[in-house]
Symmetry: C2
Subunit: 248 residues, 2 copies
Amino acid sequence: MKPGLEALSTGKDAMPLYVQIRRMLVARISSGDWPPGMAIQSEISLARELGVSQGTVRKAVTDLVETNILRRKQGLGTFVATHDSDRALFHFFHIADDDGHKALPESRVLGFRRNKASRLEAARLQLKAGTAVIRIERVRSIAGAPTVVETITLPEKLFAGLGKNGETELPNTLYEYYEQRFGITIHTSQERLKAISATARDAALLKLEAATPLLEIERVALTLDHIPVELRVSRCNTRNHHYQNTIF
Amino acid sequence: MKPGLEALSTGKDAMPLYVQIRRMLVARISSGDWPPGMAIQSEISLARELGVSQGTVRKAVTDLVETNILRRKQGLGTFVATHDSDRALFHFFHIADDDGHKALPESRVLGFRRNKASRLEAARLQLKAGTAVIRIERVRSIAGAPTVVETITLPEKLFAGLGKNGETELPNTLYEYYEQRFGITIHTSQERLKAISATARDAALLKLEAATPLLEIERVALTLDHIPVELRVSRCNTRNHHYQNTIF
DNA sequence: AAGTGGTCTAGACCACGTA
DNA sequence: ACGTGGTCTAGACCACTTG
């Protein structure tokens, strides 16, 4: 029997079948059995193997499509979601200019450092104090103007080798890179926003006066299994840009 | 034939039945035919009237439940969503203290004014320049500490009578109030966040030094028909609080 | 032509809340 | 006991993509 195809439970207090199926699918995806971009089994084939009707499989798949874990393509199949630049732009990137237009900024890496996790980093990434981390600093520019100073912290253990062997630049869509190089897929992120004063360094990098108000975005990015894998602190000049959020 | 119960279209290029049904339900709700809190027809009854199966009605209803337009209660029925304080807190209010706890702040109204719409107000509320608006200013306090200075702008036409006849206070959950007193239901909101410097007035009201960085949240609230009905500009002291956002 | 997802039916039975 | 939503089946046919 294929992995993950244990018999479904049908007892009295059992979870609904579609919930069991959904969990089985998530398990196969987060285990790496079905990597991002791969087509999963068709609904009919799954239904036959599991001994349920197509509608039940369909409900499980629909749940995962709605949470951006799977993507359906009519006539083709259902695929494990990937991090392309569209997803980065429309899903995880919230800065727009004041006319409402979004564009992924170019980025310039200032440096890679290997350090022990600060108290904040350890707390946010659920690491023990002093765990080895990689710290990346970069400046992101929109339409040529430096707009965001960003510090990215990653657990060394999960991202071994990053920034070594003369690597001095990074792709613009980092989550795609994490997925392809390290097999780490970001699924959710939690952001905290505050208004702060630019430090002297911020001001120099963004060509602003010291103590200009900046929007600080502290983001923790989580995998499908809710494991925090990236801490990103972005300090943004919101003179001509803003953070946009739509609430349904 | 009841309103909204025109025959469903089944032609070749017709929309799927569940889309037609969903739109019919939205029309009945946004027209006020089914006000907030009312139970809608049961799925089976709707299916019989429309000559479709329960599953088709169910799919339409499910879509509306997922967009917070309807609420299902097993054993009871399906109800038009209302703005209770829970929804305000968990859905529209994004300020939390730095331990991650949310609590609706108390509010003190500083004044109601009737004015002509500013250029910004007119643009955001899609009004002609100079349209009459009501402007409300208030300070919101969390755990006793004044934390947010807020200016709320409403089209006079839709909120006639608000702030008259000696009315000097407002309920804490405004959207509930709009719904109950004016029959206006907020469905979506769009927020733009920036970091700004506290004005002298902000600083005085929030008991801060002048020019402290504040988080400015500019929110436009829309009805089900996507009509903007409220502009709210909140300036928040983020010394001990932050704006939180989760991205799935 | 064959295989995929997308819509729809006509039933069945279960879980829940009210009376 | 009754009516509600919640789950599930076993089929059918359509729309789309690829060989």
